[in-house]
Amino acid sequence: MAHDSGSATPMSAPYERNPFHVLELTPEASAVEVERAGQKLLAMLGVGLEAAAGYAHPGGRAQREEADVRWAMAELRDPARRARWEVWWAPADALEGVPAPAPGPDLFRWLGWRR
């Protein structure tokens, strides 16, 4: 996901991208665990491992780059910003039981309209 790594809220809604998801951690993670997860992901991305190229969040999956990992580590090192991100955190599988809106019938085509 391309973004400005210095920005605290690079996307439109604050719940859409969360450093805990980027580092695959939960709010219970300690500061040491944050550093360890970040360094591990940076090393994996450095050697181009496929497993580190993406991460899950409640809306689906997103791409992960080194800049994302550095941004996430910086956000979680600062206690104030970490407290904020904890409010916006939800488990990555939170929407598993929620059906995605089913694509309806292609009414325009059936009624003779083309796009």
Partner: protein
């Protein structure tokens, strides 16, 4: 509500559309057949072709609709109506836009042709709506299609309201808003057809065997057959379980876009908001932080306001709280800014191309609609008061100074309907403007 001068009485419509033209066609046809069969050896087939194709194309139209060639049918229907000849120029952009929907390479030409017009007709509005739709501006397309319905019926734009209504119904159904689609059935200017009923039934499901009858009369049977199958499947009844976590509720609302999900997200956050600041402060102390806790509450309210605005969900006065107030405040500011800009351009005689003028006018009315949609009926009167002067004055400018009587008449009528719904005193003025009529289609400046 006063009678709209362009509303046709049912009997008049019937006489005009069916009996009068049928009788005329029959008499002319009789005369022609007598002459042709007397003087030409192959007169009868020629007469039949003339009678069906030109004198009374209703028969040909019915056959073409039946086999699904409804655009050709509408064109024939238009050709058969002599009163349209005064405004012949107006139908071409509509037909060109319909063709461009099929062949997108034509859009540039159609778009340029519309933008170059100094005087717009009903067909131009329809073409602009399709162009906006094609360019991925569905809200603008919806506004323009809506405006097509308000064109004076004396211009005999018969196919355009039918197409516009079908488009508006399909668009509402694609957004998942069955209520809005059904709303067009009751709209005084919409031309609701069996295809619209079929489309609604296809989305709702659970229709009885009567839907086959609907299909039989809807035409284009091989295409609309799939709609019957969709309509006959059982209606889904499983309710979606609402999450208790406020963040998950936000995600669910974002994913489904369902009004109930958005309301649930707002309600869940309302419960959590009072405890949010102490919770964040306590957590900050736990993490060893110093200083002021971040104002997450402000951020939450903004995220909820964006969500409500994006999905245009109506919030009751008792369920939205601060979020509702924030959204309505933002919408009122936006409406004021748009109305002020429109008024400034009317006052300073600062013209845009006519196509942009219509879009700008519709955007102001859309701002009013947004307030009513989210704030409910109680907001109607006050919200209309914000935009009334700008809407009326701009339409007057387009009518008097820029010679666009047909479009201005549609704008007056649209604003008049809004003013009547809002019970605004400006409705008398708008009615008298509507009563000026759409002119004869020729550009004319009054001063």
């Amino acid at each position: 509500m006063k009678r709209d001068p362009s509303d046709e009485w049912l009997l008049h419509r019937w006489l005009n559309d069916l009996v009068l033209w049928g009788l005329l066609g029959w008499l002319v046809g009789l005369l022609v057949v007598l002459l042709l069969t007397v003087f030409l050896p192959w007169g009868t087939p020629l007469w039949l072709a003339l009678w069906v194709g030109v004198v009374w194309p209703g028969a040909a139209e019915a056959v073409l609709v039946g086999i699904g060639a409804w655009k050709v049918a509408a064109f024939l229907g238009w050709m058969g109506n002599l009163r349209w000849y005064r405004h012949r120029g107006s139908v071409w952009p509509a037909l060109a836009a319909l063709e461009a929907v099929r062949r997108p390479a034509l859009w540039e030409e159609v778009d340029q042709a519309v933008r170059d017009r100094r005087v717009l007709g009903p067909g131009h509005l329809f073409a602009m709506a399709l162009q906006a739709w094609h360019a991925g501006r569905p809200v603008e397309a919806r506004d323009l299609m809506h405006l097509v319905l308000y064109v004076d019926t004396s211009l005999q734009t018969r196919p355009l309201p039918r197409w516009a209504t079908e488009w508006l119904v399909c668009e509402a159904l694609e957004r998942g808003d069955v209520g809005a689609a059904e709303g067009w059935r009751r709209h005084p200017r919409a031309a609701w057809s069996l295809r619209c009923s079929l489309a609604v039934a296809a989305v709702q499901g659970g229709a009885g065997p009567g839907v086959w009858g609907m299909w039989a009369f809807a035409g284009a049977w091989w295409r609309t057959r799939s709609l019957v199958e969709q309509a006959r499947r059982p209606r889904p009844t499983e309710p979606v379980p609402w999450p208790s976590s406020p963040v998950v509720a936000l995600w669910v609302a974002e994913r489904t876009g369902a009004p109930d999900a958005v309301r649930h997200a707002v309600a869940t956050w309302q419960e959590h908001l009072p405890a949010l600041r102490p919770r964040v402060a306590a957590r900050l102390a736990e993490l060893g932080g110093v200083g002021v806790a971040p104002s997450v509450r402000e951020e939450v309210e903004q995220a909820l306001a964006d969500l409500v605005q994006r999905h245009r969900v109506a919030l009751g006065a008792d369920e939205g709280g601060l979020v509702r107030a924030r959204v309505l405040g933002d919408l009122r500011d936006a409406a004021r800014a748009l109305a002020d800009e429109l008024q400034r351009r009317s006052d300073e005689r600062d013209p845009l191309p006519m196509a942009d003028e219509v879009v700008a006018w519709c955007r102001v009315l859309r701002a009013y609609d947004d307030i009513v949609c989210i704030g409910g009926e109680v907001q109607r009167s006050q919200a209309y008061g914000i935009v009334h002067s700008a809407l009326n004055n701009h339409a007057v400018w387009l009518h008097n100074r820029r010679g666009n009587q047909i479009v201005a008449n549609a704008l007056y009528r649209r604003a008049w309907h809004a003013a009547v719904q809002a019970d605004h005193p400006g409705q008398e003025l708008l009615y008298s403007n509507v009563d000026c009529g759409p002119g004869d289609g020729s550009p004319r400046r009054y001063f």
